[in-house]
Symmetry: C2
Subunit: 253 residues, 2 copies
DNA sequence: CGTGAAGTTGAGTATGCTCAACGGTGGTGG
DNA sequence: CCACCACCGTTGAGCATACTCAACTTCACG
Protein backbone atom coordinates (compact mmCIF):
# COMPACT_ATOMS: atom_id res chain seq x y z
CA UNK A 1 0.00 0.00 0.00
CA UNK A 2 2.55 2.58 1.10
CA UNK A 3 6.03 1.23 0.65
CA UNK A 4 7.61 4.65 0.88
CA UNK A 5 11.32 4.09 0.44
CA UNK A 6 12.17 7.69 1.10
CA UNK A 7 10.60 7.14 4.51
CA UNK A 8 13.27 4.58 5.32
CA UNK A 9 15.97 7.15 4.78
CA UNK A 10 14.17 9.57 7.05
CA UNK A 11 14.14 6.97 9.79
CA UNK A 12 17.91 6.85 9.92
CA UNK A 13 18.58 10.49 9.22
CA UNK A 14 17.36 12.34 12.27
CA UNK A 15 18.05 16.01 12.63
CA UNK A 16 20.53 16.66 15.41
CA UNK A 17 18.89 16.50 18.78
CA UNK A 18 20.55 19.11 21.02
CA UNK A 19 17.89 21.46 22.23
CA UNK A 20 18.62 24.98 23.29
CA UNK A 21 17.20 25.27 26.82
CA UNK A 22 17.02 28.66 28.48
CA UNK A 23 16.21 29.15 32.13
CA UNK A 24 13.72 31.94 32.23
CA UNK A 25 15.12 35.09 33.82
CA UNK A 26 12.76 37.65 35.27
CA UNK A 27 12.63 40.04 32.28
CA UNK A 28 11.99 37.25 29.78
CA UNK A 29 9.18 35.98 31.95
CA UNK A 30 7.11 39.10 31.75
CA UNK A 31 6.86 39.31 28.00
CA UNK A 32 6.51 35.58 27.58
CA UNK A 33 3.71 35.15 30.12
CA UNK A 34 1.36 37.40 28.25
CA UNK A 35 1.98 35.58 25.01
CA UNK A 36 1.37 32.10 26.33
CA UNK A 37 -1.61 33.10 28.47
CA UNK A 38 -3.38 34.76 25.60
CA UNK A 39 -3.19 31.60 23.51
CA UNK A 40 -3.90 28.82 25.99
CA UNK A 41 -7.16 27.91 27.65
CA UNK A 42 -5.71 28.04 31.12
CA UNK A 43 -6.53 30.79 33.59
CA UNK A 44 -3.95 33.49 34.12
CA UNK A 45 -3.39 32.16 37.63
CA UNK A 46 -2.63 28.64 36.41
CA UNK A 47 -0.36 30.10 33.76
CA UNK A 48 1.62 31.91 36.43
CA UNK A 49 2.00 28.76 38.52
CA UNK A 50 3.11 26.79 35.50
CA UNK A 51 5.60 29.44 34.44
CA UNK A 52 7.26 29.26 37.83
CA UNK A 53 8.62 25.85 36.86
CA UNK A 54 9.04 26.46 33.11
CA UNK A 55 12.14 26.67 31.03
CA UNK A 56 12.26 27.69 27.41
CA UNK A 57 13.23 25.37 24.56
CA UNK A 58 14.15 26.52 21.06
CA UNK A 59 13.94 24.10 18.16
CA UNK A 60 15.33 24.44 14.64
CA UNK A 61 13.16 23.47 11.69
CA UNK A 62 12.63 19.73 11.60
CA UNK A 63 14.29 19.15 14.95
CA UNK A 64 13.09 16.27 17.12
CA UNK A 65 11.85 17.20 20.61
CA UNK A 66 11.23 13.66 21.85
CA UNK A 67 10.61 10.26 20.31
CA UNK A 68 7.87 7.72 20.71
CA UNK A 69 8.31 5.24 23.59
CA UNK A 70 10.98 7.42 25.21
CA UNK A 71 10.66 7.90 28.99
CA UNK A 72 8.45 10.94 29.48
CA UNK A 73 10.12 13.44 31.79
CA UNK A 74 8.69 16.72 30.54
CA UNK A 75 5.45 18.27 29.56
CA UNK A 76 5.64 21.02 26.92
CA UNK A 77 3.53 23.85 25.62
CA UNK A 78 4.02 25.61 22.32
CA UNK A 79 4.87 29.30 22.54
CA UNK A 80 5.59 30.03 18.92
CA UNK A 81 5.71 27.94 15.76
CA UNK A 82 4.09 24.62 14.86
CA UNK A 83 4.85 21.11 16.06
CA UNK A 84 3.96 17.81 14.45
CA UNK A 85 3.28 14.66 16.47
CA UNK A 86 3.62 11.35 14.68
CA UNK A 87 3.98 7.62 14.84
CA UNK A 88 6.12 5.60 12.45
CA UNK A 89 5.95 2.05 11.13
CA UNK A 90 9.18 0.08 10.70
CA UNK A 91 9.11 0.50 6.92
CA UNK A 92 8.86 4.28 7.12
CA UNK A 93 5.12 4.81 6.81
CA UNK A 94 4.21 7.75 9.01
CA UNK A 95 0.97 8.84 10.62
CA UNK A 96 0.88 12.38 11.95
CA UNK A 97 -1.48 12.35 14.92
CA UNK A 98 -1.69 16.10 15.30
CA UNK A 99 -0.33 19.55 14.56
CA UNK A 100 0.16 21.82 17.55
CA UNK A 101 0.04 25.60 17.61
CA UNK A 102 0.83 28.24 20.25
CA UNK A 103 -1.02 27.48 23.46
CA UNK A 104 -1.25 23.72 22.85
CA UNK A 105 0.26 21.22 25.24
CA UNK A 106 2.15 18.07 24.35
CA UNK A 107 3.77 15.22 26.18
CA UNK A 108 0.89 13.82 28.22
CA UNK A 109 1.96 10.23 28.37
CA UNK A 110 0.42 6.90 29.17
CA UNK A 111 2.57 4.79 31.49
CA UNK A 112 5.26 7.53 31.61
CA UNK A 113 6.27 6.86 28.03
CA UNK A 114 5.59 9.21 25.12
CA UNK A 115 2.97 7.80 22.76
CA UNK A 116 4.31 9.70 19.76
CA UNK A 117 7.36 11.55 18.46
CA UNK A 118 7.34 15.35 18.34
CA UNK A 119 9.14 17.49 15.77
CA UNK A 120 9.24 21.18 14.95
CA UNK A 121 7.57 22.03 11.63
CA UNK A 122 9.49 25.31 11.36
CA UNK A 123 11.49 27.14 13.99
CA UNK A 124 9.70 26.60 17.24
CA UNK A 125 9.73 27.91 20.78
CA UNK A 126 8.25 25.96 23.70
CA UNK A 127 7.96 25.91 27.44
CA UNK A 128 9.19 22.85 29.23
CA UNK A 129 7.80 21.63 32.57
CA UNK A 130 9.35 18.67 34.36
CA UNK A 131 6.78 16.17 35.55
CA UNK A 132 8.56 15.94 38.89
CA UNK A 133 8.09 19.64 39.56
CA UNK A 134 4.62 19.49 38.05
CA UNK A 135 3.63 16.89 40.59
CA UNK A 136 4.85 19.14 43.41
CA UNK A 137 2.86 21.99 41.95
CA UNK A 138 -0.24 19.81 41.83
CA UNK A 139 0.38 18.97 45.48
CA UNK A 140 0.03 22.66 46.31
CA UNK A 141 -2.70 23.49 43.79
CA UNK A 142 -4.73 20.29 43.31
CA UNK A 143 -7.12 21.96 40.86
CA UNK A 144 -4.26 22.03 38.34
CA UNK A 145 -4.61 18.29 37.95
CA UNK A 146 -8.12 19.01 36.77
CA UNK A 147 -6.77 21.31 34.06
CA UNK A 148 -4.34 18.66 32.89
CA UNK A 149 -7.21 16.20 32.81
CA UNK A 150 -9.22 18.65 30.71
CA UNK A 151 -6.33 18.94 28.27
CA UNK A 152 -6.19 15.17 27.95
CA UNK A 153 -9.95 14.94 27.44
CA UNK A 154 -9.79 17.62 24.77
CA UNK A 155 -6.98 15.82 22.95
CA UNK A 156 -9.03 12.64 23.18
CA UNK A 157 -12.06 14.25 21.57
CA UNK A 158 -9.88 15.56 18.75
CA UNK A 159 -8.32 12.14 18.22
CA UNK A 160 -11.78 10.63 17.93
CA UNK A 161 -12.82 13.12 15.29
CA UNK A 162 -9.69 12.14 13.42
CA UNK A 163 -10.63 8.45 13.72
CA UNK A 164 -13.87 9.18 11.87
CA UNK A 165 -11.96 11.14 9.25
CA UNK A 166 -9.37 8.42 8.65
CA UNK A 167 -11.77 5.52 8.82
CA UNK A 168 -14.72 6.79 6.86
CA UNK A 169 -14.13 10.00 4.92
CA UNK A 170 -13.22 10.37 1.22
CA UNK A 171 -10.22 12.36 0.00
CA UNK A 172 -12.34 15.46 -0.69
CA UNK A 173 -13.97 15.22 2.72
CA UNK A 174 -10.62 14.85 4.45
CA UNK A 175 -9.05 17.88 2.83
CA UNK A 176 -12.18 19.98 3.37
CA UNK A 177 -12.24 18.91 7.05
CA UNK A 178 -8.59 19.85 7.36
CA UNK A 179 -9.09 23.33 5.93
CA UNK A 180 -12.16 24.04 8.05
CA UNK A 181 -10.39 22.78 11.15
CA UNK A 182 -7.35 25.00 10.51
CA UNK A 183 -9.60 28.01 10.00
CA UNK A 184 -11.53 27.33 13.21
CA UNK A 185 -8.27 27.02 15.05
CA UNK A 186 -7.01 30.29 13.62
CA UNK A 187 -10.27 31.97 14.61
CA UNK A 188 -10.01 30.66 18.16
CA UNK A 189 -6.58 32.25 18.33
CA UNK A 190 -7.91 35.61 17.27
CA UNK A 191 -7.19 35.49 13.54
CA UNK A 192 -10.23 36.81 11.73
CA UNK A 193 -11.17 36.33 8.07
CA UNK A 194 -11.03 33.44 5.63
CA UNK A 195 -7.30 33.38 5.01
CA UNK A 196 -4.98 30.91 6.62
CA UNK A 197 -1.36 29.90 6.50
CA UNK A 198 -0.37 26.25 6.48
CA UNK A 199 3.17 26.01 7.80
CA UNK A 200 3.47 22.29 7.02
CA UNK A 201 4.40 20.61 3.73
CA UNK A 202 2.06 18.62 1.47
CA UNK A 203 3.77 15.49 2.72
CA UNK A 204 2.92 16.46 6.31
CA UNK A 205 -0.70 17.04 5.34
CA UNK A 206 -0.77 13.71 3.51
CA UNK A 207 0.60 11.87 6.52
CA UNK A 208 -1.94 13.61 8.73
CA UNK A 209 -4.91 12.78 6.49
CA UNK A 210 -3.81 9.25 5.62
CA UNK A 211 -3.32 10.03 1.92
CA UNK A 212 -0.57 10.38 -0.71
CA UNK A 213 0.95 13.82 -1.35
CA UNK A 214 -0.21 13.64 -4.97
CA UNK A 215 -3.81 13.23 -3.86
CA UNK A 216 -3.47 16.25 -1.57
CA UNK A 217 -2.20 18.26 -4.51
CA UNK A 218 -4.95 17.09 -6.84
CA UNK A 219 -7.66 17.82 -4.28
CA UNK A 220 -6.37 21.35 -3.72
CA UNK A 221 -6.37 21.86 -7.48
CA UNK A 222 -9.93 20.53 -7.70
CA UNK A 223 -11.12 22.85 -4.93
CA UNK A 224 -9.39 25.76 -6.66
CA UNK A 225 -11.02 25.02 -10.00
CA UNK A 226 -14.40 24.79 -8.26
CA UNK A 227 -13.96 28.20 -6.71
CA UNK A 228 -13.90 26.83 -3.16
CA UNK A 229 -10.43 28.07 -2.32
CA UNK A 230 -7.75 30.37 -3.68
CA UNK A 231 -4.04 29.91 -3.09
CA UNK A 232 -1.99 33.09 -3.17
CA UNK A 233 1.09 31.14 -2.23
CA UNK A 234 1.39 27.37 -1.86
CA UNK A 235 0.98 27.68 1.89
CA UNK A 236 -1.48 30.59 2.00
CA UNK A 237 -5.05 29.57 1.33
CA UNK A 238 -8.24 31.62 1.26
CA UNK A 239 -11.47 29.76 1.87
CA UNK A 240 -13.79 31.33 -0.71
CA UNK A 241 -16.83 29.19 0.12
CA UNK A 242 -16.56 28.13 3.70
CA UNK A 243 -20.15 26.88 3.90
CA UNK A 244 -19.66 24.53 0.97
CA UNK A 245 -16.37 23.30 2.41
CA UNK A 246 -18.09 22.56 5.71
CA UNK A 247 -20.82 20.70 3.84
CA UNK A 248 -18.21 18.62 2.04
CA UNK A 249 -16.31 18.05 5.29
CA UNK A 250 -19.36 16.59 7.00
CA UNK A 251 -20.09 14.28 4.07
CA UNK A 252 -23.19 15.97 2.68
CA UNK A 253 -21.89 16.96 -0.74
CA UNK B 1 -16.67 5.73 -1.05
CA UNK B 2 -19.07 4.36 1.55
CA UNK B 3 -22.62 5.37 0.69
CA UNK B 4 -24.15 2.77 2.93
CA UNK B 5 -27.90 3.14 2.49
CA UNK B 6 -28.71 0.58 5.12
CA UNK B 7 -26.94 2.88 7.56
CA UNK B 8 -29.59 5.53 7.02
CA UNK B 9 -32.26 3.18 8.25
CA UNK B 10 -30.23 2.45 11.36
CA UNK B 11 -30.04 6.14 12.11
CA UNK B 12 -33.77 6.42 12.52
CA UNK B 13 -34.38 3.06 14.10
CA UNK B 14 -32.86 3.32 17.56
CA UNK B 15 -33.42 0.57 20.08
CA UNK B 16 -35.65 1.76 22.89
CA UNK B 17 -33.77 3.81 25.36
CA UNK B 18 -35.15 3.04 28.84
CA UNK B 19 -32.33 1.78 30.97
CA UNK B 20 -32.86 -0.44 33.94
CA UNK B 21 -31.17 1.33 36.84
CA UNK B 22 -30.75 -0.45 40.12
CA UNK B 23 -29.64 1.24 43.30
CA UNK B 24 -27.10 -1.04 44.82
CA UNK B 25 -28.31 -2.68 48.00
CA UNK B 26 -25.80 -4.02 50.48
CA UNK B 27 -25.83 -7.67 49.36
CA UNK B 28 -25.42 -6.82 45.69
CA UNK B 29 -22.47 -4.60 46.52
CA UNK B 30 -20.38 -7.31 48.02
CA UNK B 31 -20.43 -9.66 45.08
CA UNK B 32 -20.18 -6.88 42.53
CA UNK B 33 -17.22 -5.11 44.13
CA UNK B 34 -14.96 -8.08 43.73
CA UNK B 35 -15.86 -8.47 40.12
CA UNK B 36 -15.22 -4.88 39.12
CA UNK B 37 -12.06 -4.57 41.18
CA UNK B 38 -10.54 -7.66 39.67
CA UNK B 39 -10.97 -6.28 36.15
CA UNK B 40 -10.12 -2.61 36.47
CA UNK B 41 -6.74 -0.98 36.98
CA UNK B 42 -7.90 0.98 40.00
CA UNK B 43 -6.78 0.16 43.50
CA UNK B 44 -9.24 -1.65 45.74
CA UNK B 45 -9.51 1.48 47.86
CA UNK B 46 -10.49 3.66 44.89
CA UNK B 47 -12.94 0.99 43.79
CA UNK B 48 -14.63 1.13 47.17
CA UNK B 49 -14.91 4.91 47.05
CA UNK B 50 -16.34 4.79 43.55
CA UNK B 51 -18.82 2.08 44.46
CA UNK B 52 -20.20 4.26 47.24
CA UNK B 53 -21.73 6.48 44.55
CA UNK B 54 -22.44 3.83 41.92
CA UNK B 55 -25.72 2.52 40.63
CA UNK B 56 -26.10 -0.42 38.29
CA UNK B 57 -27.37 -0.18 34.72
CA UNK B 58 -28.54 -3.14 32.64
CA UNK B 59 -28.66 -2.86 28.87
CA UNK B 60 -30.32 -5.13 26.34
CA UNK B 61 -28.43 -6.12 23.21
CA UNK B 62 -28.02 -3.13 20.92
CA UNK B 63 -29.40 -0.67 23.43
CA UNK B 64 -28.09 2.89 23.40
CA UNK B 65 -26.56 4.13 26.66
CA UNK B 66 -25.92 7.71 25.54
CA UNK B 67 -25.52 9.58 22.28
CA UNK B 68 -22.80 11.80 20.87
CA UNK B 69 -23.09 15.48 21.81
CA UNK B 70 -25.53 14.73 24.61
CA UNK B 71 -24.91 16.54 27.91
CA UNK B 72 -22.57 14.30 29.90
CA UNK B 73 -23.97 13.65 33.37
CA UNK B 74 -22.58 10.23 34.14
CA UNK B 75 -19.38 8.31 33.97
CA UNK B 76 -19.75 4.55 33.46
CA UNK B 77 -17.68 1.43 33.88
CA UNK B 78 -18.36 -1.92 32.28
CA UNK B 79 -19.11 -4.77 34.68
CA UNK B 80 -20.12 -7.45 32.24
CA UNK B 81 -20.53 -7.59 28.48
CA UNK B 82 -19.10 -5.48 25.68
CA UNK B 83 -19.87 -1.88 24.69
CA UNK B 84 -19.18 -0.18 21.37
CA UNK B 85 -18.42 3.54 21.12
CA UNK B 86 -19.01 5.19 17.76
CA UNK B 87 -19.45 8.34 15.74
CA UNK B 88 -21.85 8.66 12.84
CA UNK B 89 -21.88 10.76 9.68
CA UNK B 90 -25.18 12.21 8.45
CA UNK B 91 -25.46 9.65 5.63
CA UNK B 92 -25.06 6.69 7.97
CA UNK B 93 -21.36 5.99 7.72
CA UNK B 94 -20.18 4.85 11.13
CA UNK B 95 -16.79 4.79 12.80
CA UNK B 96 -16.49 2.69 15.92
CA UNK B 97 -13.89 4.38 18.10
CA UNK B 98 -13.55 1.56 20.57
CA UNK B 99 -14.86 -1.63 22.11
CA UNK B 100 -15.03 -1.73 25.89
CA UNK B 101 -14.81 -4.76 28.13
CA UNK B 102 -15.29 -5.34 31.86
CA UNK B 103 -13.21 -2.89 33.87
CA UNK B 104 -13.13 -0.21 31.16
CA UNK B 105 -14.51 3.26 31.77
CA UNK B 106 -16.55 5.35 29.36
CA UNK B 107 -18.10 8.78 29.33
CA UNK B 108 -15.09 11.01 29.91
CA UNK B 109 -16.23 14.06 28.02
CA UNK B 110 -14.72 17.18 26.59
CA UNK B 111 -16.69 20.30 27.42
CA UNK B 112 -19.28 18.23 29.35
CA UNK B 113 -20.63 16.72 26.16
CA UNK B 114 -20.14 13.09 25.12
CA UNK B 115 -17.77 12.79 22.16
CA UNK B 116 -19.32 9.53 20.96
CA UNK B 117 -22.40 7.35 21.25
CA UNK B 118 -22.29 4.20 23.36
CA UNK B 119 -24.26 1.01 22.69
CA UNK B 120 -24.31 -2.47 24.18
CA UNK B 121 -22.92 -5.15 21.86
CA UNK B 122 -24.75 -7.92 23.70
CA UNK B 123 -26.48 -7.81 27.06
CA UNK B 124 -24.44 -5.53 29.22
CA UNK B 125 -24.13 -4.52 32.86
CA UNK B 126 -22.48 -1.28 33.94
CA UNK B 127 -21.87 0.93 36.93
CA UNK B 128 -23.03 4.50 36.70
CA UNK B 129 -21.39 7.39 38.57
CA UNK B 130 -22.86 10.89 38.43
CA UNK B 131 -20.25 13.56 37.70
CA UNK B 132 -21.76 15.73 40.43
CA UNK B 133 -21.11 13.10 43.08
CA UNK B 134 -17.80 12.23 41.48
CA UNK B 135 -16.67 15.81 41.93
CA UNK B 136 -17.58 15.66 45.62
CA UNK B 137 -15.64 12.42 45.91
CA UNK B 138 -12.63 14.06 44.31
CA UNK B 139 -12.93 16.87 46.82
CA UNK B 140 -12.43 14.35 49.61
CA UNK B 141 -9.91 12.12 47.82
CA UNK B 142 -8.01 14.38 45.37
CA UNK B 143 -5.80 11.52 44.16
CA UNK B 144 -8.86 10.09 42.42
CA UNK B 145 -8.64 12.89 39.88
CA UNK B 146 -5.23 11.53 39.05
CA UNK B 147 -6.76 8.13 38.32
CA UNK B 148 -9.36 9.68 36.02
CA UNK B 149 -6.55 11.52 34.29
CA UNK B 150 -4.66 8.26 33.86
CA UNK B 151 -7.73 6.68 32.30
CA UNK B 152 -8.00 9.58 29.84
CA UNK B 153 -4.31 9.35 28.97
CA UNK B 154 -4.62 5.63 28.39
CA UNK B 155 -7.63 6.11 26.12
CA UNK B 156 -5.65 8.76 24.27
CA UNK B 157 -2.73 6.43 23.65
CA UNK B 158 -5.10 3.78 22.32
CA UNK B 159 -6.80 6.29 20.03
CA UNK B 160 -3.41 7.26 18.62
CA UNK B 161 -2.53 3.65 17.85
CA UNK B 162 -5.84 3.46 16.03
CA UNK B 163 -4.97 6.59 14.04
CA UNK B 164 -1.89 4.84 12.70
CA UNK B 165 -3.96 1.77 11.88
CA UNK B 166 -6.66 3.71 10.04
CA UNK B 167 -4.34 6.10 8.28
CA UNK B 168 -1.54 3.83 7.18
CA UNK B 169 -2.22 0.11 7.54
CA UNK B 170 -3.43 -2.31 4.86
CA UNK B 171 -6.46 -4.57 5.29
CA UNK B 172 -4.32 -7.54 6.35
CA UNK B 173 -2.41 -5.40 8.82
CA UNK B 174 -5.60 -3.99 10.31
CA UNK B 175 -7.21 -7.36 10.90
CA UNK B 176 -4.00 -8.84 12.29
CA UNK B 177 -3.65 -5.83 14.62
CA UNK B 178 -7.23 -6.30 15.75
CA UNK B 179 -6.76 -9.97 16.58
CA UNK B 180 -3.50 -9.39 18.43
CA UNK B 181 -5.05 -6.50 20.37
CA UNK B 182 -8.04 -8.60 21.41
CA UNK B 183 -5.78 -11.39 22.56
CA UNK B 184 -3.59 -9.03 24.58
CA UNK B 185 -6.69 -7.61 26.16
CA UNK B 186 -7.97 -11.08 27.03
CA UNK B 187 -4.58 -11.94 28.53
CA UNK B 188 -4.59 -8.79 30.65
CA UNK B 189 -7.93 -9.89 32.03
CA UNK B 190 -6.59 -13.25 33.01
CA UNK B 191 -7.61 -15.33 30.00
CA UNK B 192 -4.72 -17.53 29.02
CA UNK B 193 -4.11 -19.30 25.71
CA UNK B 194 -4.56 -18.38 22.07
CA UNK B 195 -8.32 -18.61 21.88
CA UNK B 196 -10.57 -15.60 21.94
CA UNK B 197 -14.22 -14.77 21.56
CA UNK B 198 -15.29 -11.79 19.49
CA UNK B 199 -18.73 -10.73 20.71
CA UNK B 200 -19.19 -8.14 17.94
CA UNK B 201 -20.46 -8.70 14.39
CA UNK B 202 -18.38 -8.45 11.21
CA UNK B 203 -20.07 -5.13 10.54
CA UNK B 204 -18.89 -3.85 13.92
CA UNK B 205 -15.35 -4.98 13.18
CA UNK B 206 -15.53 -3.36 9.74
CA UNK B 207 -16.69 -0.06 11.21
CA UNK B 208 -13.91 -0.25 13.79
CA UNK B 209 -11.16 -0.97 11.24
CA UNK B 210 -12.45 1.41 8.55
CA UNK B 211 -13.23 -1.35 6.07
CA UNK B 212 -16.18 -3.11 4.42
CA UNK B 213 -17.65 -6.23 6.04
CA UNK B 214 -16.83 -8.23 2.92
CA UNK B 215 -13.16 -7.36 3.25
CA UNK B 216 -13.19 -8.46 6.89
CA UNK B 217 -14.67 -11.76 5.79
CA UNK B 218 -12.17 -12.23 3.00
CA UNK B 219 -9.24 -11.41 5.25
CA UNK B 220 -10.36 -13.92 7.88
CA UNK B 221 -10.68 -16.53 5.13
CA UNK B 222 -7.20 -15.67 3.88
CA UNK B 223 -5.70 -15.96 7.37
CA UNK B 224 -7.48 -19.27 7.81
CA UNK B 225 -6.18 -20.67 4.54
CA UNK B 226 -2.67 -19.57 5.50
CA UNK B 227 -2.88 -21.42 8.79
CA UNK B 228 -2.64 -18.24 10.85
CA UNK B 229 -5.99 -18.66 12.58
CA UNK B 230 -8.71 -21.25 13.07
CA UNK B 231 -12.37 -20.44 13.61
CA UNK B 232 -14.32 -23.01 15.57
CA UNK B 233 -17.36 -20.81 15.50
CA UNK B 234 -17.76 -17.54 13.59
CA UNK B 235 -17.00 -15.59 16.75
CA UNK B 236 -14.46 -17.96 18.32
CA UNK B 237 -10.99 -17.62 16.88
CA UNK B 238 -7.77 -19.39 17.74
CA UNK B 239 -4.54 -17.62 16.86
CA UNK B 240 -2.42 -20.45 15.48
CA UNK B 241 0.61 -18.33 14.63
CA UNK B 242 0.63 -15.37 16.93
CA UNK B 243 4.19 -14.34 16.04
CA UNK B 244 3.38 -14.13 12.35
CA UNK B 245 0.19 -12.20 13.09
CA UNK B 246 2.18 -9.72 15.17
CA UNK B 247 4.67 -9.38 12.33
CA UNK B 248 1.85 -8.68 9.90
CA UNK B 249 0.23 -6.26 12.34
CA UNK B 250 3.37 -4.17 12.60
CA UNK B 251 3.77 -4.01 8.81
CA UNK B 252 6.78 -6.29 8.42
CA UNK B 253 5.23 -9.06 6.32
C1' DC C 1 21.26 32.64 -11.30
C1' DG C 2 21.89 27.77 -10.10
C1' DT C 3 20.54 23.90 -7.36
C1' DG C 4 17.75 20.90 -4.66
C1' DA C 5 13.55 20.32 -2.37
C1' DA C 6 8.66 20.77 -2.72
C1' DG C 7 4.64 20.75 -5.47
C1' DT C 8 1.88 19.62 -9.63
C1' DT C 9 0.24 16.89 -13.33
C1' DG C 10 -0.31 12.65 -16.06
C1' DA C 11 -0.86 7.64 -16.98
C1' DG C 12 -1.58 3.26 -15.40
C1' DT C 13 -2.76 0.17 -11.74
C1' DA C 14 -3.84 -2.12 -7.26
C1' DT C 15 -6.36 -2.39 -3.26
C1' DG C 16 -10.39 -2.68 -1.35
C1' DC C 17 -15.38 -1.26 -2.23
C1' DT C 18 -20.04 -2.16 -4.28
C1' DC C 19 -23.50 -4.99 -5.74
C1' DA C 20 -25.38 -9.45 -5.80
C1' DA C 21 -26.26 -14.20 -4.79
C1' DC C 22 -25.90 -17.78 -1.72
C1' DG C 23 -25.20 -20.38 2.71
C1' DG C 24 -25.25 -20.75 7.60
C1' DT C 25 -26.99 -19.87 12.20
C1' DG C 26 -29.53 -18.59 15.98
C1' DG C 27 -33.78 -17.14 17.88
C1' DT C 28 -38.78 -17.43 18.05
C1' DG C 29 -43.15 -19.28 17.91
C1' DG C 30 -46.11 -22.94 16.65
C1' DC D 1 -38.86 -29.87 19.75
C1' DC D 2 -38.74 -28.61 15.30
C1' DA D 3 -39.42 -25.46 11.51
C1' DC D 4 -39.19 -21.14 9.77
C1' DC D 5 -37.32 -16.73 9.06
C1' DA D 6 -34.44 -12.97 9.46
C1' DC D 7 -30.00 -11.70 10.07
C1' DC D 8 -25.27 -12.50 9.61
C1' DG D 9 -21.46 -14.13 7.14
C1' DT D 10 -19.14 -15.73 2.85
C1' DT D 11 -17.96 -15.72 -1.89
C1' DG D 12 -17.79 -13.85 -6.63
C1' DA D 13 -17.44 -10.34 -10.33
C1' DG D 14 -16.72 -5.85 -11.66
C1' DC D 15 -15.39 -1.34 -10.65
C1' DA D 16 -13.93 3.15 -8.39
C1' DT D 17 -11.00 5.60 -5.63
C1' DA D 18 -6.85 6.80 -4.55
C1' DC D 19 -2.00 5.00 -4.96
C1' DT D 20 2.46 4.41 -7.54
C1' DC D 21 5.73 5.79 -10.68
C1' DA D 22 7.45 9.29 -13.52
C1' DA D 23 8.17 13.70 -15.65
C1' DC D 24 7.98 18.34 -15.21
C1' DT D 25 7.42 22.95 -12.85
C1' DT D 26 7.85 26.08 -9.20
C1' DC D 27 9.90 27.88 -5.26
C1' DA D 28 13.26 28.90 -1.65
C1' DC D 29 17.78 29.65 -0.61
C1' DG D 30 22.38 30.24 -1.24
Amino acid sequence: MHLDVKGLAKLHDPVARETRVIDLGAPCKVCAIRHAASESQLSEEDETHLLSIASNVQLASGQLLFAESEAAEHLYSVVEGTMRLYKMMPDGRRQITGFLFPGDFLGLADDNVYAYSAEAVGRCSLYRYSFVQLRQLIGRYPEMEHKLCAIARHELAEAQDQLLLLGRKTARERVASFLVMLLERAARHGQEGDRLTMPMTREDIADYLGMATETISRTFTEFRSQGLIATDHVKDVTLLDRDELETIASGLD
